[in-house]
């Protein structure tokens, strides 16, 4: 019988070792999580649905491999949660919205297919902001997620459930999606590792679309090595996603041990301005000093247009969202408002009752910026600003191999603190949105805590398709910090 305390601290190697050392079968591992999750998740509310049959079916397959002495696939026995924005065949997928309350996808996202082929155990679906729109997980139609480090605080969003279940130990790893920071910001708030790969590195086929030129899928885990192992499996070209890159995928796990000496780490001077919490600044500056001691070269870089990123983001993201969310009309799937006299009335009433306030706000804003007479003033201008931001990063990456910033300006804020002011909520994404706009990879990992014990995240950004460099640097920093805190 596996103790709850052991389940909470598993990583991929420990999970595999349970199976290969015959300490537990995969079925026993799944059953232990199924016993453990209901009570352990009751206050956190990180899960929206559990998928016991699916996890058990996979577990029986793995147990047969163990019994036959066959080699196990790379993620064998890794208990995972999947953000509810990602489609899972036969398992309800609501995307945090009432409009998809009854939706059961008839197909799997490519990432889900790949995870299961690699032996991962899918425990269930993780809570998220409705249609991944939010920075606190308070926009879920099924109730907010609470931060396991302080239940009065938000876990971040929109992948708040994914980060919270990994932090709480009710999953060993999770998938999230990142459109403006939705993997990295909750990872920072919950004290876990979260990685957004380059745009095109991981197939989005089966991800419920929010903003197609910005949406990414990526892993959350308790260690950099586990994040690398999950990314390894989900990365790579997919003919079902026209934006996915036809590039070879490096061996991320093997690359973790390569040296970091001489790596140039760029620190943007704009990243330490007004609005940055003193505890966050202290922890991030300490991390910079540690990387210098580890042999990295710290260089000063400038990202002069960074202050325009949030404005650029909220025009492009909402414009794309207004188009993508047009498909939710009560005809083919999801909720339909009954007793409408005409098709047009049915659309309007279904969408008004099915969508929450933030989703409606973004559809309205996106429709406005794309409407006749405003397209050039807003949308086209935002695409030009996006080109300026891309050029800023291109220049900075001629001086530095990695760019380092805080992941968030503050630690996790209180539930309800920003719900009345949408604009203030948007500013929580100041350090994360540009990577989405530019399409470069970004990783957040823990770099300390406030005196009250709230986690602080360090963000590393890399050149397009150079995820391996970020993982290698993060892995080394994580080990140095682990060694330092163990003293």
């Amino acid at each position: 019988m596996l103790a709850d305390s052991e389940l909470r601290t598993l990583d991929l190697d420990a999970s595999r070792a349970l199976l290969t050392g015959r300490r537990a079968t995969a079925v026993e591992l799944v059953e232990a999580f199924q016993r453990f999750i209901p009570a352990a998740d009751a206050e956190v509310h990180g899960y929206l649905a559990l998928s016991p049959e699916r996890a058990l079916q996979q577990a029986r397959r793995l147990d047969a491999l163990v019994a036959a002495g066959q080699p196990l696939p790379p993620l064998a026995g890794l208990p995972m949660a999947i953000k509810d924005a990602i489609s899972t065949r036969g398992v309800p997928t609501t995307c945090g919205s009432r409009i998809l309350a009854s939706y059961v996808p008839p197909y799997d996202a490519t990432v889900v297919t790949r995870l299961e082929e690699a032996g991962a155990l899918l425990l269930g679906k993780a809570n998220c902001d409705e249609f991944a729109m939010g920075s606190s997980n308070e926009n879920s139609a099924y109730g907010a997620v609470r931060n396991p480090h302080d239940l009065t605080r938000v876990p971040g969003g929109s992948s708040g459930g994914s980060a919270a279940v990994v932090a709480a130990g009710t999953a060993v790893a999770a998938l999230g999606s990142d459109t403006g920071g939705s993997i990295r910001q909750p990872a920072a708030f919950c004290g876990v590792v979260g990685m957004m790969p380059s745009y095109g590195r991981v197939s989005r086929f089966g991800l419920i679309a929010f903003a197609s030129s910005l949406d990414h899928i990526g892993p959350l885990a308790r260690t950099v090595k586990d994040a690398a192992a999950v990314l390894q499996v989900i990365a790579g070209h997919d003919p079902l996603d026209a934006t996915s890159a036809a590039l070879p995928v490096p061996d991320y796990v093997a690359g973790l041990e390569a040296p970091i000496t001489g790596l140039r780490v760029g620190v943007p001077r704009e990243a330490f301005g007004a609005g940055l919490d003193a505890d966050v600044e202290r922890a991030v500056r300490a991390a910079i000093e540690d990387l210098a001691r580890a042999g990295c070269e710290i260089v000063d870089v400038s990202l002069p247009h960074n202050n325009y990123a949030i404005a650029t983001y909220y025009i492009i993201a909402t414009a794309e969202a207004s188009s993508n969310l047009a498909r939710f009309d009560g005809v083919r799937y999801g909720y339909r408002e009954p007793d409408s006299r005409t098709l047009a009335e049915m659309y309007r009433r279904t969408r008004d009752h099915g969508f929450g306030p933030e989703v409606k706000r973004r559809i309205m804003l996106g429709t406005y910026v794309l409407s006749a007479g405003y397209y050039d003033a807003f949308y086209r201008k935002a695409l030009q600003a996006r080109a300026l931001l891309t050029e800023d990063y291109r220049k900075a990456f001629t001086q530095a191999d990695v760019i380092l910033t805080p992941t968030t300006p503050t630690p996790a804020f209180r539930l309800g603190e920003k719900t009345e002011n949408p604009l203030e909520m948007y500013l929580a994404d100041i350090y994360t949105v540009t990577a989405d706009l530019v399409g470069i990879p970004g990783l957040s990992l823990p770099c300390g805590a406030t005196p009250a014990g709230l986690p602080i995240g360090l963000q590393l950004l890399g050149r397009h398709f150079e995820e391996a460099t970020l993982l290698r640097l993060a892995h080394r920093y994580e080990r140095r910090r682990g060694a330092a805190t163990a003293d």
């Binding site: 095109g200 306030p357 309205m364 300026l388």
Partner: protein, 115 residues
């Protein structure tokens, strides 16, 4: 940027949203504040600057030799996909192998269509 209730109703109509009077008031306030914030892009001098491509990593892909044709188009080949029953399984209303919807043309004395 001033947004009026009339603007909000016009945009809601384009977006197929039926907003309540309370939602219209809140939308006026929130959209006004957000548009005022995003107007900071007017400070940027960008005449003649080409807009960003829709694939934000397009330039990197080209430099890495990932031919655009490889990464955007799949072969036009037949493959297994949903059965009609699977495609209709989530429909709020279906019949005879089709999705069913209310009337498309409004009628003055109509009663709600059976769903």
């Amino acid at each position: 940027m001033k947004i009026t209730a009339q603007d909000v109703r016009y945009i809601a109509d384009l977006a197929h949203l039926e907003l309540t009077p309370e939602e219209i008031v809140a939308m006026e306030r929130d959209l006004g504040a957000i548009l005022e914030y995003v107007a900071q892009l007017d400070q940027l001098e960008m005449p003649g600057l080409a807009p960003s491509p829709l694939h934000p990593a397009a330039a990197a892909l080209a430099a890495l030799g990932s031919a655009a044709s490889n990464s955007t188009l799949r072969p036009d080949a037949q493959r297994a996909w949903f059965t009609p029953a699977e495609a209709l399984a989530n429909a709020p209303s279906a019949g005879a192998g089709h999705f069913k919807v209310p009337r498309i043309i409004s009628v003055s004395e109509g009663t709600p269509e059976a769903e």
